[in-house]
Symmetry: C2
Subunit: 374 residues, 2 copies
């Protein structure tokens, strides 16, 4: 099996097009990963995601630890087999979920203890345990355990968590390298923290680079600071990350967030947004968001996108989708999730094409000005 590889293919301003080689396929960037939190992307079949060009999914070690349990997934052949997913998988370590979901969190230098948000059972994660868990799941790309702080955080609190995340990064790296369950080609990404403080972000990025990871994530953003401050923090962090490794902005975001962050040099994204919005009746046409529950669509015979090769986008009228939403029909979630996922994949594929052809700026402008036709 090939080693994990990242190869830059084109650059347009700071925007990058690259390819990553994982144990389960080559993936092209910029890319957006649908989120299969508990081992499933809500309301959509993996075959449908694959048909829309998805090559890599995200799943959460935290959620799988609680249900159905890591050992069970391992016994059932690993996460890819469990989910019936033929592509690659990135797993998140749980740092963010511990902060945002669980109860009675106690963080010490060794790791984090917390109670399940489902049934109150007590759990403990350390950087080593997290690496072991993700190896057991069979992740193609795993994330270090990090300490996330809630927004807003004062500088000394952000520094404390950033510094601890760095110490955990080093331990995760050792555990990953020495794991007997690790397979050739699997990758570990470090996570840069530091809130919205440029000097902390720089220190975090530089220290991670010195340790050396297969890729670098920017964590702790899109937690309430707003797009402007997020992009500013990104712009101050990215120059301190190596050119020849993937850069992954975690938990982001809207099409506008994606387009702007790609412009700054980000390669990878994940977010529950397109699926969650779909379940609420919101669809994306290009970068524009439309509420299909609006009465204006009750008689609209046009499909979401007549020219799309996605069956959910081209096969059903807006009036029909509006009707399904009004009656609470579960098929609506499937069709709108598929459409949104397909749209996000197209946004990234066409961003890549634009970067390769040196016209990313105009592509970005067209979409941000509301042009729906990709």
């Amino acid at each position: 099996m090939a080693a994990f590889e990242f190869q830059l293919e084109a650059q347009d301003g700071k925007a990058r097009a690259a390819r990553m080689t994982t144990p389960h396929g080559i993936v092209q960037t910029p890319l957006f990963m649908p989120v299969g939190t508990v081992g499933a992307v809500k309301a959509i079949m993996p075959e449908q995601l694959a048909a829309s060009g998805v090559k890599i999914l995200l799943a959460n070690a935290y959620h799988l630890l609680l249900r159905p349990g890591i050992e069970r997934v391992r016994r059932l052949g690993g996460l890819r087999r469990f989910m019936n997913w033929k592509g690659a998988i990135l797993t998140d370590s749980g740092g963010f979920q511990i902060m945002s979901l669980s109860k009675m969190v106690k963080i010490d230098e060794d790791g984090a203890s917390f109670r399940s948000h489902i049934d109150g059972t007590l759990h403990r994660l350390t950087p080593e345990k997290c690496a072991e868990i993700q190896c057991a799941l069979g992740s193609d790309i795993q994330m270090q355990l990090d300490e996330c702080v809630a927004w807003p955080a004062r500088e000394n609190r952000a520094e404390e968590a950033m510094a601890r995340s760095l110490r955990w990064a080093a331990r995760a790296r050792d555990a990953f390298i020495n794991s007997p369950q690790r397979r050739e080609g699997q990758a570990l990404f470090g996570i840069a923290q530091g809130g919205v403080y440029p000097s902390l972000r720089r220190a975090s990025a530089e220290a991670l680079c010195e340790m050396g990871f297969d890729g670098y994530a920017i964590g702790g953003l899109a937690v309430g600071e707003g797009q402007e401050m997020m992009l500013q923090t990104l712009a101050e962090t990215l120059p301190h990350l190596p050119e020849n490794a993937p850069r992954y902005l975690m938990g982001v975001g809207t099409p506008s967030d994606l387009l702007e962050a790609v412009r700054l040099g980000v390669d990878m994204f994940d977010c529950v947004l397109p699926a969650r919005e779909a379940r609420h009746g919101h669809v994306y046409l290009g970068a524009a968001r439309v509420n299909l529950r609006n009465a204006a669509f009750a008689e609209d015979a046009a499909p979401l996108d007549a020219k799309s090769d996605c069956p959910a986008s081209s096969g059903y009228s807006r009036a029909y989708l509006h009707h399904l939403l009004k009656i609470g029909e579960p098929l609506a979630a499937t069709l709108l999730t598929w459409h949104n996922m397909d749209n996000f994949q197209k946004l990234m594929r066409r961003a890549r094409q634009a970067i390769m052809e040196g016209r990313y700026e105009s592509y970005c402008q067209r979409l941000l000005s509301g042009e729906t036709l990709l």
Copy 2:
């Protein structure tokens, strides 16, 4: 466009194999129609039904009248286009829904007035209006408006409703024949009523035959009388229906119901059962029902049916489906609905094959004895 045609192809005892020609395709019997109540089969895409061999769906004129309204469906190109369904459609007239769902029902000789179970709005259906509505929807097979009585019904009440249903049958027939919206090849079925009273059933069947319909339904069964009484009533009704026309047992049922009724000479069925059971975690393996929520499946690495060509049946382990049900993941409904629908289609296709080959009795016995392998 071809006229509606029904052609018997084989008989094995009383069990029949036939083909019907509709304006939107040839369908083979015995057949089971998935129910797309409000213009969608819950949680499953029409492409997935078609992949499982479904050629004809049922939809409810009553539900579509309430939401989104018949005129809207007509303006949007008719029900098939509205639903993105390429096959044939049978619509139910609403007689059963008026009795079972709506409020403040007033039935007089001319028709039925009732209040919507959704928003309390007042509606009125007559046999003529019902025929007109179903023509507007573009149904390939439409049903007469009938009067259904709740179980149990005394004989005089059953007789009254049966006699009125016959008078309404005659009016539906006239309205259908004279409808300017009717298209070549569209069919109208009469509905035999009469509760569990053999003499009423016989009178109803004979009177309908005399009027002449494209097909004959048996209504008012599977409403609480139990399988034994249902089959007994069927056995007393079917001999009075013509050989050379389809016989449709409405709202039935379990695999066992289907197998037994086919044995008595029924050609067509519809029921919400396989979809509803799927949403509750119950799957059919052959004629046997299994509760996937049972803890026994938590570590079962086998798919529902490894040899199936249905992706939902063969692509996912029982342990995974169990997990999806436990976490309340909407994908579970899609996968289990597809599996159940596929299983019902296979039950009927293989029943047909068995009839053609003169071995229906042994096929039936094997399945009823719990053999899961079709």
